[in-house]
Amino acid sequence: MTEIVVDHLSKDFGPVRAVDDLTFAVPSGEVTGFLGPNGAGKTTTLRCLLGLIAPTSGKALIAGARYSDLAEPARTVGAALEASSFHPGRTARNHLRVLCAAAGLPDRRAEEVLDLTGLTSDADRRVGGYSTGMRQRLALSAALLGDPGYLVLDEPATGLDPAGISWLRELLEYMAHDLGKTVLVSSHLLAEMEHTADRVVIITGGRLVKQGQLEDIINAAGAGVRVRTPSATRMSEVLRDAGLSGELRGEELFVPSTTAERVGHLAYVNGIELSGLAERPADLEAVFLQLTNSDHHQEPASERPAAVTSGRP
């Protein structure tokens, strides 16, 4: 069942089009990753969905309604947008109790979510002294306050330590798989989302690049080859001349949709030294780069960063 619908959504900030005719759907019972580079328009889209930004055109609906038309928004949707949305002089417990009062929830909910996110022992400290990770936990606590059926989280993993990330992943999976909630979580950390998301919506420059089940998208991309070479630049030229694309990642090149034989042969005939060559199944990062760079091959390389960052409001 489709629970969140973004329908031909566009948003202009002055001359800049941050979100451009974006359409996607988010079903319940799954964790949907909302992916894109910084400035792709993720936050703008989520803020449109949550009634904080008025779309230029199109609409974004939750359970068939605009956010501002929801009778009990805090009990329907739990949202965590940025980890800095706290008064530094207020304690975490009081921050949550303010929200309890506004949402008509009993104060014991504040204690329950503090317990759930592991903040109970720090609950009476002023938020000004919190680390980024603790702020993320507090933002998540606020989102869970009304025990909502929908979770909309913007970059919730930023600032969490590895244990926190693993905890967050388990929490999101529990919410979606066991409780059947609708979970939409944005991230620019692709490797992280690969372990968490069941489904992904990928955007760049405010436009949809791909949406679907993560597994299908990765399988469709096919296996690729990882090449390790001291002459990476030369190798990518050779690959390009052969009609292949090589994405440089660290000291490695990832070449999608090809075989080790083909790449090995190319290296051999061009006299390039290889220190590693292995076939690997495609991963989200490779798929993402492949998808978001499709325009790049027709444009001068210098224009790409501009296109990627233009969505920043």
């Binding site: 803020r47 949550l50 904080l52 930004i53 008025a54 008064h87 002089g89 207020r90 009062a101």
Partner: protein, 261 residues
């Protein structure tokens, strides 16, 4: 609406802003009362000194200190009540729980008025009690029940509530907390005085009478302005109320509709 009002009260009581402003105001009011009582009738202190404490105008100046200076505190409180939400980005969680923004602003206006009223009660009680004690100590009759002073005391309490609402509207319009606080203080302490001079020079005295601070002064008529230059007390009260409402409406129209990014 009850929920939002409760939430706003909790917001106010869970930071140190209100306590700081209230205490600061108490010190300021007490200081002014002391200075006025001990300089009144003392011509060596300078030409600005008030006439002797047997003069009703001087008595009103003592009891009217909450309106001369104390009103700045509810004004600042009102500004911070909304601009603080933008400064600390708490406007995002606030609007996520209550997406209808006019309701949020209405709840804030109610809480600003109530808090301004409470601050007004405290300041007025201090000015009245301290003023009476000091006037008696200087050997003059206290006269707190005469010369329209009881009415003035009640109006000051109500007036401080209106000043808080005025500040709220102002803060909603400017959003930037530092700019809003400084601009509000500059307007009521300097700009209005200059504007008043200009309006009188341009023979627009009626316009000068309806400026917020002029309306505020008219409510207590504690200063030495000739009666012809100011509104009657009820006119001042209604004018100040109108300013408060106008600022909130302007804030609602111009700021609360904008995108929250």
């Amino acid at each position: 609406m009850t929920r939002l009002i409760r939430a706003e009260v909790r917001k106010l009581l869970t930071t140190r802003m209100l306590l700081g402003l209230t205490l600061g105001g108490i010190v300021l009011v007490a200081f002014y009362v002391v200075v006025i009582v001990f300089t009144a009738g003392n011509n060596q202190a300078g030409t600005n000194a008030l006439r002797s404490l047997s003069d009703p105008g001087s008595l009103r100046a003592v009891y009217g200190v909450p309106f001369e200076i104390g009103y700045l505190m509810p004004l600042i409180m009102g500004v911070i009540l909304i601009s603080g939400e933008f400064r600390h980005k708490t406007i995002t969680p606030t609007l996520l729980v209550a997406p209808r923004r006019s309701r949020v602003l209405t709840a804030k206006a109610v809480v600003a008025a109530g808090t301004g009223l409470a601050m007004g009660l405290v300041y007025t009680a201090i000015a009245a009690a301290l003023g009476a004690v000091l006037i008696a100590a200087r050997g003059y009759p206290v006269h707190i029940g005469s010369y329209g002073i009881p009415r003035m005391l009640v109006l000051m309490v109500l007036g401080l509530a209106v000043w808080a609402v005025f500040g709220l509207g102002f803060g909603a319009l400017l959003k930037n907390q530092t700019a809003a606080v400084l601009a509000a203080l500059a307007i009521v302490t300097i700009v209005e005085g200059l504007l008043e001079l200009f309006l009188r020079w341009a023979h627009l005295g009626w316009a000068a009478k309806v400026l917020p601070s002029a309306a505020s002064s008219a409510m207590v008529q504690a200063s030495n302005v000739k009666a012809a230059n100011i509104l009657p007390w009820w006119g001042g009260a209604l004018t100040l109320l109108a300013w408060g409402v106008l600022m909130v409406v302007l804030g609602a129209v111009f700021t609360m509709r904008r995108d929250v990014t």
